[in-house]
């Protein structure tokens, strides 16, 4: 099971260069390979998109083509700028009001309150990124120690494996109501440090992206070269040193494969969770636009879809770069 998932990641990665081994010889063909072909692919996609879009009529007007989406990117950015201007004006008014009140009522301690305006598209992107990273890091903190423990101990593996296999395929949407209720019940402070909605999204993300990491780490750890283990035995390394010097370095590639998979899952789960629970973030943006049903809604949703895709891609690339940095095997899988 794990090897297939690992292979799957390899496939998801950029495979295009290897397909065109023939062109590998000259510099010119190198340029074609790196620039021209992706560009051609992109161009064809845009062309197909705009042609298909024109032929789809929805009750909210035509399906948005590339031009309409581009226009929405601009208007979303404009909205963001306008909102920032409004925010400044808001703080200025507030300072003035506070000053007036202090003049009248000297005992008053002026307080600056955060801007009450609506999150813009850019704000929602930032919120989603923060949530996904927090959820992911929490999952890493749980999954890697757990995975190592399972990988090292056969009995533990036998005990925990069934649980993992059962929870792994559970959709985030099934967890969400449970998480929402539990968080509301346990996290009932009048002055919360972080918003409940943030916690709900975070925990849902963690629950869903835990499993690929646990499994990959466990398999990586269990499959360490016998020779390395023997070296450790000869040197009589204490357990912790063994993990630190032998197990971790040897299983880094597998651990990172698991982390990449998990981050991908986390990102997808987050959008779905935000949409369903109306928690701030890109998912909520998509849902709000769907509810608005204005003639721009579809183009705005499409813009969000592209942004979600690009961010997902960048997260994956970022993880790969990180993997190359920490791995001793510099030929780390693409």
């Amino acid at each position: 099971m794990t090897t297939t998932t690992a292979n799957a990641t390899k496939l998801i990665g950029f495979k295009l260069p290897q397909l065109s081994e023939v062109f590998n010889r000259t510099l010119v063909s190198g340029a074609i390979r790196l620039i021209a072909l992706p560009l051609a692919g992109m161009f064809t996609f845009l062309l197909l998109w705009s042609i298909t879009a024109q032929n789809i009529d929805t009750s909210l007007g035509k399906f948005p083509g590339p031009a309409a989406v581009m226009e929405q990117f601009n208007s979303l950015y404009d909205e963001h700028q306008r909102s920032r201007e409004k925010e400044q004006a808001f703080y200025q008014r507030q300072e003035k009001r506070n000053a007036e009140r202090v003049a009248k009522d000297p005992s008053y301690e002026p307080k600056i309150r955060a801007y009450t305006g609506k999150e813009t598209f850019l704000d929602q992107i930032v919120t989603s990124l923060i949530t996904v990273m927090s959820g992911f890091l929490l999952a890493v903190a749980i999954a890697i120690p757990l995975g190592i423990a399972i990988g090292l101990s056969k009995p533990l593996n036998n005990a925990i494996n069934p649980i993992i296999q059962v929870f792994k395929p559970v959709s985030p949407l099934a967890w969400l109501p449970l998480v929402t209720m539990v968080v509301s019940a346990l996290y009932a402070t009048p002055d919360p440090v972080v918003a409940k909605s943030f916690l709900v999204s975070l925990i849902t993300v963690t629950l869903c992206c835990l499993w690929p990491m646990v499994i990959n780490t466990a398999v990586g750890v269990a499959g360490i070269d016998r020779d390395l283990v023997n070296v450790s035995k000869v040197l009589r390394l204490p357990a912790l040193r063994h993990v630190q010097k032998i197990v971790l370095p040897a299983s880094v590639p597998m651990i990172f494969t698991g982390m990449r998979l998990s981050l991908g899952v986390a990102w997808m789960v987050l959008i779905a969770a935000e949409m369903l629970a109306q928690n701030p973030g890109l998912g909520k943006f998509v849902w709000d636009e769907f509810q608005n049903g204005s003639s721009d809604s579809l183009a705005r949703i499409m813009a969000a879809v592209l942004v979600i895709g690009v961010i997902g891609f960048l997260l994956d690339r970022g993880m790969l770069t990180l993997q190359k940095l920490v791995s001793w095997d510099k030929s780390a899988n693409q």
């Binding site: 009750s59 008014r93 009522d105 309150r113 009450t116 109306q278 636009e289 509810q291 049903g293 204005s294």
Partner: protein, 458 residues
């Protein structure tokens, strides 16, 4: 106005015994708000306008309030938000605070110091149903149908579906929503039975003995659900009727203005606890909302197009300008191209729209009794007592008086607070001609051909 001394003293004693010192006397200057950062919820409907305007025009800030406004997924989520404190207040269906206080659904003490608007809803049917209804509707000389269209025209269609064994499904937004009662009123006036509730037997689906089966769909999803064919018609607030016209998927047949001229619609709901804990804040919120409502109706709706522009922002209603403008600026488009003048389709301030009349609350209670949501007979006094618990003209009066004092409003714009007893004069403009007198709820319930009568229990 009809004087009702005993009731006034009842209300007054209630105020005293329950420790409602929340409404400061006018002589005392209104203090600073105790809670300055507030979050208000709303549903994407044009009648949330007073909240959006109070924010955008700085009326909240003028009161020293920093308000965040959040769209909610549906009425249940919104009500739960107010009850559990996630929201400090919200744009609510008039029936919600009443039902919550009574304990139908979630039990909680919710009050309202401010009624948000009159009218503003419509009933839309799908294009297919409209084609079947059309032959039953009398035509004017120019070939357009005569309005108001009664449910009599729908009756043969429903009967046909019934005979074929197909359920005739319709959507409304919440079991205690204005829309549920309006849709039921309209259907029943045309002889179509909308079904009874029997909460004492655990039946809250409201489909006992029904000809037309009503179910809940959140407002913004109405057009999509109609388009999908899950329901054949719905009753909802704007812009979701005009949206159906624009999308060419349905035809609004009647507005609630025609079912009951100048009917009270949404209210602004807060918990009783909030009003007691933060009395100045409560009055100040009410002041900001009154000013927003005045702005919306000022100079014969002169500000409406600006309001529509604000509402069409994606963080408020978010529908297209044209769709919202259709109803907000005094017209209503029925069939595509059949645009008629309905200047009072959305009323926010005139006709004392914002004053929380006890009689409005009692009308909702009579309909709850009529359809079995209140399963047993109650004396007239019970209706009045409950209305006085939920509707709080005392807070409204405090806010209005302080506005008058600061010359932000004039006394003529409000009811005369010294003589006002909270009951509108008997109201006559119902589609079936039945007169409603809020003083005599039980007598009123007896007048309906379809509906539970006194002594009747399912």
């Amino acid at each position: 106005m009809i004087r009702n001394k005993p009731f006034k003293t009842l209300a007054a004693s209630l105020v005293l015994t329950m420790g409602f010192s929340s409404a400061p006397a006018t002589a005392k200057e209104l203090g600073y708000p105790e809670k300055e950062e507030l979050t208000f919820g709303f549903i994407k409907l044009t009648d949330m306008a007073p909240i959006a305007i109070a924010y955008e025009k700085g009326f909240f800030e003028d009161e020293g309030l920093y308000v965040t406004i959040e769209a909610q997924a549906n009425w249940k989520v919104l009500l739960d938000g107010v009850i559990d404190g996630r929201l400090d207040g919200a744009h609510m269906l008039a029936g919600q605070p009443i039902a919550a206080t009574m304990g139908f659904g979630t039990k909680a003490d919710i009050i309202t110091p401010f009624s948000m608007d009159l009218n503003g809803n419509g009933i839309t049917v799908s294009n297919a149903i409209w084609e079947e209804m059309k032959p039953n509707i009398p035509k004017m000389e120019d070939g357009r149908p005569v309005h108001p269209i009664k449910a009599d025209a729908l009756k043969p269609v429903v009967e046909k579906y019934k005979a074929e064994g197909k359920p005739f499904n319709m959507g409304m937004v919440f079991p205690v929503s204005t829309h549920n009662y309006e849709l039921r009123y309209w259907l029943a006036a045309g002889g179509i039975h909308p079904g009874f509730y029997a909460p004492h037997k655990g039946d809250t689906s409201g489909q006992i003995d029904a000809d037309a089966l009503l179910s809940v769909t959140p407002p913004p999803q109405m057009p999509a659900t109609l388009e999908a064919g899950t329901i054949y018609g719905y009753c909802v607030g704007e812009p979701w009727n005009q949206q159906a016209v624009f999308k060419d998927i349905g035809v609004p047949v009647v507005t609630d203005y025609e079912i009951w001229k100048d009917n009270p619609e949404k209210v602004f709901g807060i918990t009783k606890e909030f009003a007691e804990k933060y009395p100045n804040t409560t009055v100040r919120v009410t002041r900001a909302l009154i000013r927003a409502a005045m702005w919306l109706d000022e100079n014969n709706n002169a500000n409406r197009s600006e309001a529509v522009k604000i509402l069409s922002q994606s963080n408020y209603v978010g529908a297209d300008y044209d769709v919202i403008a259709n109803s907000m600026t005094g017209t209503f488009e029925y069939e595509k191209g059949d645009k008629r003048e309905v200047p009072d389709f959305n009323v926010f301030f005139r006709y004392n729209a914002t004053y929380p009349y006890y009689s409005d609350a009692i009308w909702y209670l009579t309909q709850m009794r009529r359809w079995g949501q209140i399963s047993e007979d109650k004396p007239d006094a019970w209706y009045k007592e409950l209305a006085a618990k939920v509707y709080r003209p005392d807070i409204y009066a405090a806010a209005a008086k302080s506005l008058i004092e600061e010359k932000l409003a004039s006394a003529e714009q409000f009811p005369d607070f010294d003589t006002e007893d909270g009951f509108r004069n008997p109201q006559t403009h119902f589609i079936d001609g039945i007169v409603y007198n809020g003083q005599k709820p039980n007598e009123y319930i007896e007048k309906f051909a379809i509906g539970l009568k006194s002594g009747q229990k399912l």
